[in-house]
């Protein structure tokens, strides 16, 4: 697994979480800029999904199994977009909190992905 990409995704996810947390603190719903941020993080997760699948196709094996690795990649990719849609349905500060929680979950998934790949 590409470690720099994993780290970049985790950091971006935490920044997104902090940003949306700040919006929630100021009692604001998610705005266009937040959605651009979510898009950036989602693209990183998508790149990671592609890179992961390419590495599997080249014959590399994750330490804890291919099935688990791919499920985590898919989960990581779905994570932020899902919270984005939820924040569209909940136009209050709580929508922002939900996106922030999505960012934290994605960061945790990155740590797990790193473990699953085996460093």
């Amino acid at each position: 697994m590409l470690v720099p990409l994993t780290v970049a995704t985790a950091v971006a996810a935490l920044l997104l979480a902090a940003w949306c947390g700040w919006a929630a603190y100021r009692d604001q719903p998610t705005k266009d800029w937040h959605f651009i941020g979510m898009a950036v993080v989602s693209v990183l997760a998508l790149v990671q999904l592609v890179v992961g699948i390419v590495q599997l196709a080249r014959g590399d094996k994750p330490e804890q199994g291919t099935t688990i690795f791919v499920s985590y990649l898919l989960g990581a990719f779905a994570c932020v977009p899902v919270t984005g849609f939820m924040s569209l349905a909940e136009r209050t500060r709580w929508g922002s909190v939900t996106v922030a929680a999505g960012g934290v979950v994605l960061a945790v998934l990155q740590v797990r992905l790193y473990d699953i790949w085996g460093g």
Partner: protein, 141 residues
Amino acid sequence: MAATQEKPTTRLISGPGMLLVWLYGVMVVGAVSRSIVQISTEFEHAPLAYSLSALAGVVYGFITYSLVRGGETARKAARFCCAAELAGVLVVGTWTLVEPSAFPDTTVWSEYGMGYLFIPVLLPITAMYWLRKTAPQGDAA
């Protein structure tokens, strides 16, 4: 979300409820997919742990569905399940500490959900508080 049409029933996913749905959704995916993988590949290794993970996944799924569905019956059912969930976390958590040999592998509820940032133990408490707040006026059930 699917259940956004206006209904006279109690809406459970407005405000903090939305955050709860997200966290419960994560736990559903986590617990269910984990137990599917483990039960289908290495069930004999730790049958008790994997069965408990599957059970946890089902309970989480039901709570998530109830929250999204909304209404008074769903609210009561969700509250009951949250209580069951809390009991499950506490019992299994204590069990894993007292007798680790019964669990060759961890469950979602091991050590009070430490592997999941203690979300499994914090979530039912928060949810029960929320479901109490959304109760109709004068009804604290």
